[in-house]
Symmetry: C2
Subunit: 413 residues, 2 copies
């Protein structure tokens, strides 16, 4: 292992996105610059978040990424190149064991900068490690960089990773709209979109309506109660306009009593042993239409490609993710700790953002949902204000390298 | 309507693909050339296949597509720009009504060339119209151009549309493989792929293994009986190698007794009223893994994007589709009738094909499945010969126009 002093470590945590590796590439570029200026020794990458760190599974990222072209490939590789974990730290006043072990490792490797790229749980880790470092008086600068396709983090205009997922959804929705338009027979197509607690991604399904294009007829979000009869009336009303009705629904849509529309969401998809056939919100709506209207109906769950279709990433999102990663290192070397990096939007058109460091305590564990001003009065569509907010985030295309007709991904040696 | 003589008509039929509009663009380019040479009056487009033709819903395509750039956009627009139908003609010896009506329309519009872009049912229509024209001695040149993502048509090396669907599957599978690799917890990811009768598309899921990349661990095709115990043994064997097992299964996979693995496939997805929750082959495998192995498991149905994700179309497929469309017009003006256009492969590397006109009678209604030489001995993977066959078909990327961050589609006025 490297014998340098004043080192940094970076990890990725939580669910993968198409942009989390772009943020990592930004951190690596920032660290390489800081290394050149003598401010950081080297940058370790922890494998599988703090789980790997606890067993000292680390790689020397400045050594691995000596070629700029590898960083370019990394930035367009989906999922977490370092691996990920879903570990949430207990408060250290309850159990100090893990904290003691982590700080032993920091001491052993002379680590004084800790960068963590992740969602809500990861920002919670940032807050706790920062507080513990102060308690034990170990000089550790802790900086979180948000990522989540769900866009439901407080304290930032939007999250890295959301724009690419939104672009995938918008483009795929346009393709599905073209596909469903070919027949004259009445049919309903239901598209289930990720987002357990917030409707941001489902709102992105409305983007094909920009510039006068066709958009889905109906959208259903977790922010508004789902009503079966209102849904059926809306579908029948849409049939007055055209024979091919297209509906988008969040996986997290709920009835007025708070139960999920999707049976699988209700019982928890991964721990629901013994359930014969689990069904998501899309399948449930498919069933409702078949039973109550009796027309041709199909449901499509966009599923994993929403978070890993990096070939269709938003250039805006990837460039911002690179920038926010580098900005995290700048913030750290100028002494900011216990912060998460965030975007402040200065204007929609032309789209301009600033990157800031926010105190992490105020934002961790808070869920940001679609504001009322972004949802229409009927609760089944978005407003122009919502489209103005979303539009710049999906702009621009990336140009991944292709080999054998498939995008090339960076695989850590 | 146009008053020209010696006109042609073209239609699209059957399920949409990402390349069927490229074939249409090829027919339009070919017809414009033939028009310039005085060999064809104009080219009508029938809306929604012969269904629209029967009610004289036609557009003048040479008039609409005067700009080359519109043809370029059309070629990268998924689904059928003219609309589609699923009408199968009865034999004219049983019922001549529809034939009489069609030939009245041909006479009225002075149509002597009939181009039909479609799958098996459409080639059946080509055969029947050609035979009927001979019977009633109406001079009609009938040429079929195949399209199907399923690649299950006889008499051609491959079908237009297959390469783009295969590329979407291969690229998406690579993205899913990256996504699933981030955690250390044992997990099975099951990907359900289209193909009711043949495993060509599922075989394409193996393409990420080219050039040493990771490929799915197990593939299941309709061509080999699915055995639950063998499947479970294979998954457990794959866990010996890595914690993230990835499986691809055709929607048409069947047990040894011929029943479909997917319950929805078994009962027919659209007419199965009253079934609480229909499940495809992927969901059934998810259930088997959860019950019998008990690890984390997820299923992903690739669904409609397989046939409409035109932004990721194969350049090879789009260029061939343009060529075969134009070749159909050339064949027609040199007097070939009752034929379908087909590809003959001259070599894999470098990849070279010829376009030929085949007698339609021999190929309509025949299903071409994966040959034995393309499936491994265990029946759960493909051979190198299969990869050599598939590899050239997904090569090359297209460059669709984007507006507002989404691909631009051509919409018929």
């Amino acid at each position: 292992m490297n014998q340098q002093k004043n080192n940094a470590v970076v990890g990725q945590s939580g669910g993968p996105t198409s942009a989390i590796n772009a943020t990592l590439a930004g951190v690596i570029r920032g660290a390489a610059k800081a290394h050149g200026e003598g401010k950081i020794g080297t940058l370790y990458g922890m494998r599988h978040g703090i789980e790997g760190l606890l067993s000292e599974e680390m790689v020397d990222l400045l050594d691995i990424f000596r070629e700029e072209s590898d960083l370019d490939t990394l930035a367009l590789t989906p999922a977490a190149a370092l691996g990920s974990c879903r570990k949430k730290l207990k408060p250290f006043r309850e159990d100090e064991t893990v904290y003691r072990r982590l700080f032993e490792i920091f001491e052993k490797y002379d680590i004084h900068f800790f960068f963590y790229i992740g969602g809500n749980d990861s920002m919670d880790t940032v807050a706790k490690l920062s507080a513990y470092a102060a308690t034990v008086r170990y000089p550790l600068t802790v900086v979180g960089v948000p990522k989540t396709i769900d866009n439901d983090l407080a304290g930032t205009d939007h999250t890295p990773g959301f724009g690419s997922a939104a672009k995938y959804i918008a483009a795929t929705m346009r393709e599905i709209l073209s596909d469903t338009a070919v027949y004259t027979v009445r049919a309903v197509t239901i598209v289930e979109i990720m987002g357990r607690d917030a409707g941001w991604l489902t709102a992105a399904a409305a983007l094909p309506g920009l510039s006068g294009g066709r958009a889905p007829d109906l959208l259903y979000f977790p922010e508004r109660p789902f009503d079966k009869n209102a849904f059926l009336s809306s579908v029948n009303a849409a049939f007055e306009k055209h024979p091919n009705v297209v509906v988008a629904i969040s996986e997290g849509a709920r009835y007025a009593d708070g139960t999920y529309v999707g049976a699988s969401a209700q019982s928890g998809a991964t721990d629901a042993f013994g359930h014969q056939y689990l069904a998501g919100a899309g399948k449930v709506l498919e069933h409702i239409v078949r039973e109550e209207i009796g027309c041709k109906v199909r449901s499509v769950e966009l599923n994993l490609p929403q978070r890993c279709a990096a070939h269709l990433a938003s250039r805006t999102d990837i460039e911002e993710s690179l920038r926010i990663g580098a900005a995290a290192v700048s913030a750290a070397v100028r002494g900011e700790s216990g912060v998460i990096m965030s975007f402040e939007r200065l204007s929609d058109e032309p789209y301009r953002t600033d990157i800031r460091a926010e105190r992490v305590d105020g934002v961790a564990n808070a869920v940001r949902t679609l504001p009322d001003a972004f949802i229409n009065a009927a609760g089944n569509g978005v407003t122009d204000a919502c489209l103005r907010y979303l539009a710049p985030l999906i702009r621009g295309e990336v140009e991944p390298k292709y080999e054998d007709g498939m995008p090339v991904h960076f695989v850590l040696p």
